[in-house]
Each structure stands twice: as C-alpha cells, then as structure tokens.
C-alpha cells in the first residue's frame, strides 16, 4: 500500500465535504410548532434516526439547564453555577451541530474566500459574541419592556431578526459573487489569471513540492477583510437560539439574572466552537481540493479555485435569497 493512500482518503473526504455541505448546511431551523404561528417551513431540515439517537442526551441537557437554574436560586456554593456553565457549553456545542446556527454562512464564505485558519476562529467567536448580545437584548426587551407573553413574542422577534439576517446573507453572497466574477480571485498567490503580476508568477514557480505548496498556501495573502468577517458573524449570530433564550427567561423569572447571562454566554461560546470548527474544516477542505488539483497542473488549479469560490458565493447568495423569500 502506498503512502499516498491516507492522503487520498482525506482528499476524497474533502471533496465529499464540499459537495455535501453546500446542500446540507442550507436547511433552516424550524420554528417552534407550539408557539409560532403558521405551518412548517418548506425548507426546514428533516429528522433522522441518527439525530434521534442523540435525543436522550439533548433531553437530559435541556432538563438539567432548567433544574440548575432552580438550584442556583437556593445555592450557597458556586457548584450549581459552575455546572450550569459546563452544561451550557456542551449544549451550545451539540446544539449548533444541527440545522441553522450559521454553518452555511461561515462554510460557504470560507469556500469563496482565501482564508487562514485563524479567520474561522475569529468568525466563530465574533458570531458567539453577537449571538450572546442579541439573545440577551431580545429577551431583556421582551421581559422588562414589552412584558407580554414571552414565548409568542420571542417567535415573532426571531422571525423579524431572521428575515433581516437572511437579507444580509444574500447581500454578502451577491457581493462575493461580483467580487469573484470581476476577478478578485486573481489577486492570490497561486491563482493563474490575466492580471497576475510577474512577481507573483515568480514566487509560484519557486514553490513546487507538495511540502512547499502547503507552506505556500499558509503564507498566501488572504483576501478576507475585517468588515466581511464582521458581516458574516452578524448574519450568522444575530438570530437567537430558542434554547439559549428559554434558559435566560427561566433565570429571569427565577430572579437569578447572573445565571442567565452566564448560561447564554457559555451556550454562545459552545456554538462558536462548533461554527469555528466547521469554518476551519471548510478552509482545510478547500485547500485539500486545490492541492489535489495542483498536481494536475496550474490550469487545473486555477479552474478548481474558480469553481470552488464561485460555487461558494452562489450558494451563499441563493441560501440567503431563498430563506429570505420563504419568510413571507
């Protein structure tokens, strides 16, 4: 067996990831059938036996969160608060694996851009920060100012925020698509295009072996801007997770506001971990596919890059557009 086989497995998995994630991440999270108004979303994710197997674990986490909020009220030690923080973190990590939670936005964005691994970390944790602020703001407004039925108010507020976020996603997708079609991709070290300057061409020729190619990719200039990272973090994080919002409400109603703030912060960090990981996988998968196509020559590499980047932009744009339209 040759040494290249494990690499070949990873390459094939990277291609599978790119193809599947473009479809799979695009499902939306369903509204709460009990407290929303109207029927199921036509683009809601279906249920599967695999996720059903996780049901008991998700259930015990959900129950534990609410129990801990009650225990904190009467606790004289920090034990229940620490337990709440830990369960919230795990809840955030596992919960964000499901539909929604910004994975489509983050992964397609990183397919469309030349990003470094640190960008996925920044995007994930910016998204977590925005999510925590958004969830707390919405809950506090509903609880302290509106003071009507929270569960119904939350569904209505969520729908408005979600509609705005989908519009933002479509705009980011359209912006990236225009950027790519205008030749934004040609600014990078390893792309071949009419506007590639002589200096970059020389650098590319120096980097030949696979090892050097990897090093070259790490050093390649990135076209990710702070504004773009903030935009995708906002679009993916601004829609509050129903679980996070429910736990803050329960804490507020039990007069343990600090517990609610800690719970939502830790749930958001957990979501950030998952979303950052998905973003990092998208970056690695894109690099892997480009690396494999580089072996077939520079023309193959350039074509693969353009296909991946334009597909990422198109999916991001369509994802935002379809979900935006589906809100009405």
């Amino acid at each position: 067996m040759s040494m290249s086989e494990p690499n070949s497995i990873a390459r094939k998995a990277e291609v599978v990831f790119l193809l599947c994630s473009l479809v799979a991440f695009a499902f939306a999270e369903s509204p709460n059938p009990l407290t929303s108004s109207g029927g199921p979303s036509p683009i809601a994710a279906p249920a599967s036996g695999g996720i059903a197997a996780l049901g008991p674990m998700l259930r015990s986490m959900t129950d534990r969160l609410a129990e801990l909020a009650g225990e904190i009220r009467d606790a004289k030690t920090p034990g229940p608060m620490l337990a709440l923080a830990l369960v919230s973190l795990l809840y955030g990590i596992f919960h964000a694996l499901g539909p929604g939670h910004g994975k489509t936005i983050i992964s397609t964005f990183f397919l469309a851009k030349d990003a470094k691994l640190k960008h996925s970390l920044i995007a994930g944790f910016l998204m977590a920060l925005i999510h925590a602020i958004s969830a707390m703001t919405i809950v506090f407004i509903l609880f302290f100012i509106v003071q009507r039925v929270f569960s119904v108010g939350f569904e209505n507020a969520s729908k408005i925020v979600q509609t705005v976020s989908f519009a933002l996603v479509a705009l980011i997708g359209a912006f990236l698509l225009i950027q790519k079609l205008r030749g934004g991709a040609h600014r990078h070290l390893f792309s071949l295009g009419p506007r590639e300057n002589e200096d970059l061409r020389k650098k590319r020729e120096v980097v030949k072996s696979r090892r050097e190619w990897r090093v070259g990719l790490e050093r390649a200039s990135s076209d990710v801007t702070v504004k773009e990272l903030a935009g995708i973090a906002l679009a993916s994080g601004v829609v509050p997770c129903p679980g996070a919002s429910a736990i803050i409400l329960v804490c507020l109603s039990l007069n343990v506001m600090l517990a609610g703030v800690i719970a939502v912060a830790m749930i958001s960090v957990g979501m950030g971990v998952t979303v950052s990981t998905i973003g990092a996988i998208a970056i690695l998968a894109k690099r892997g596919v480009l690396k494999a196509s580089a072996a077939k020559g520079s023309a193959g590499s350039s074509l693969a890059r353009r296909i991946v980047e334009i597909t990422g932009s198109v999916v991001l744009f369509l994802f935002g557009l379809v979900l935006f339209i589906a809100q009405f």
Binding site: K12, G49, G55, S151, S253
Partner: protein, 201 residues
C-alpha cells in the same frame, strides 16, 4: 500499512459534519400518556396527555402562570391555548390516525386543559370518535410525532403510557410497533406507533 488515526478521523468528521447539519434536532421533549375509552362495542374517545420537559415547562409557566401559583386560572388557560397550543392545527396536532389501514382525518380536539404537575407543564385533550367494533375485529394505529422534529416524543411503554378502558363488550390488545406512516424524506426519523386491536365479543 496502518492508516494514520488522525487522517481517518479527519475524513470521518468531513463526511459526518454535513450529515449532522442536514437533520433537525429537537428543542422540546414530551412524554405521552394515551387512554382509549370504549362504550359498549364502540371506541368513543382517545384522551391524550403530554408532559413537557423542564425547560419548556418553565418557559410556559413563567409566561402564563402569573404569580407562580402552580396552576392556570381559566383566563390563563384560555390565553395559553391561544399562544402555545392552537397553532398545532398546522401540525396535525402531532397525531396521525389510521383505522383499518386507512388514514382517518382527526376529529375536532376537545377538552384542552393545561396543568402543572410536579413543576412540569401538562397538556390534556381528547379526540371524540365513533368506531363500531364488530366480531370481525378492527385495528387502530396512532402515531404521535412532529414532522419537523422540533418536538421529540419519548418512546412509549404500553404498560406505563397506554390505558384501555374497554369494559366487557370488547376484547382489545395494545402494542407498540413500527409506524406505517410514510416518511416524507429519505432517512426521516419516524417514531413507533400505538397499535390497538379490538374485537367485539
């Protein structure tokens, strides 16, 4: 040659991540209790009660049980019905009813009553029926499920979660079997269903 663990793990994550994201996950969990009532040789009513998970219970109790008195007044119950139950008409009240293999439209929901039991929210309601049971026997299949999987229902245990009040005119037996409700998507999770077999004496 042994495949490096890290490579294989990486490949598995790459393949499993989209699969996990493609499928819904539950946010609300319900334990069901179902009672079948007979009068003479007729099945006249199905009574359903749902006990919710702690988090959803607390949220709804905080919303509607003003003053946290541990119960809902008539006005609160009416408000709760409007805000956290009536929309289930768009989700076939999470029920699929088949009689003798044929899908039967749900009769109007009656006697909805929310309550609080040991800190948990409980919904109770009933479905009036008029199913005549002859000596040839009849079969009723009831699946309790949410197509969107936002709500997950606990696996039912007949001895604990299902009650038969069949009197002396009907012989009946109940079991939990694989559902015959068709899945809408490939790989869709469909919980098992209650199968009630009845025969007039």
């Amino acid at each position: 040659m042994k495949l490096p663990f890290a490579r294989v793990a990486y490949a598995l994550i790459l393949i499993l991540a989209p699969a996990a994201a493609a499928y819904a996950h539950p946010h609300v969990f319900i334990t069901s209790h179902v009672v079948f009532d007979f009068e003479g040789t007729n099945l006249t009513r199905i009574s359903v009660s749902w006990t919710f998970d702690e988090l959803f219970s607390q949220m709804i109790i905080a919303d509607y049980d003003r003053g946290r008195k541990g119960s809902f007044s008539e006005a609160e119950a009416a408000e709760l019905k409007k805000g956290a139950f009536d929309n289930l008409k768009n989700y076939h009240y999470f029920l699929a009813l088949f009689v003798d293999g044929k899908h039967t439209p749900l009769p109007p929901i009656q006697n909805f009553k929310p309550s609080i039991d040991a800190g948990r929210l409980v919904y109770s309601f009933s479905l009036p029926l008029q199913i005549k049971i002859g000596t040839a026997g009849r079969e009723l299949r009831l699946t309790i499920y949410d197509d969107t999987y936002y709500v997950a229902f606990d696996k039912m245990i007949p001895a604990q979660d299902i009650e038969l009040r069949s009197g002396t005119d009907v012989a009946s037996s109940v079991s939990i079997e694989k559902t015959k409700v068709k899945a809408e998507w490939p790989g869709q999770f469909m919980p098992d269903q209650i199968v009630l077999r009845m025969k007039g004496k």
